[in-house]
Symmetry: C2
């Protein structure tokens, strides 16, 4: 059992779009990820997913509009909802999702 | 569906030790809470619990030592582990735990 520091964990993350698992509880994973550019449209049929922005600015495109997140803001994407994360500049994010979640969706 | 802002949510929290639910995903609740002083020793038999410090400094007493958390540090208390949160000055925390979790433990 040890505490986790955001600053320390991000020192181990070199690549973008490559989540690092930093915790697990109740079958859910806590992951840190560096984002830059845009991902592809996808959805998770059976899993809700939380994006918590720690640094930078993240746009989550949804089919019916965009959600723009700044530091210390989060958004929960309900299961089944198509989304595409986009950020022009680097953005640092905490993801919270079930262990079964696939990065590119179903 | 809307984004959640830490700053905005805390404006609605007047009392200490009174968690405010700010999100739900996959049967887990996201809660914000203001802490000051000390809680009682307790444990959650079937639930892991995450404490994420946003502001201030939080000590989590465990039977075999203390964990001290500053801003942007978190700790996951495994199910069944006795703990007591303590902070001399105000501390603002995100809790992540199953919907079934009771504040005072089992």
């Amino acid at each position: 059992m040890k505490k986790i520091s955001v600053a320390e964990e991000f020192q181990h993350i070199d690549a973008f779009w490559s989540p690092r698992q930093v915790g697990e509880l109740n079958g859910q994973l806590v992951k840190f990820v560096r984002l830059k550019g845009q991902f592809e449209w996808h959805k998770h049929t059976d899993e809700d997913e939380m994006f918590w922005v720690m640094e930078g600015r993240l746009t989550i495109r949804l089919r019916d509009g965009d959600i723009v997140l700044g530091p210390n803001e989060f958004f929960i994407i309900p299961r089944g909802v198509e989304h595409m994360p986009v950020c022009e500049d680097e953005c640092r994010v905490m993801l919270f999702e079930p262990a079964a979640t696939k990065q590119y969706g179903d």
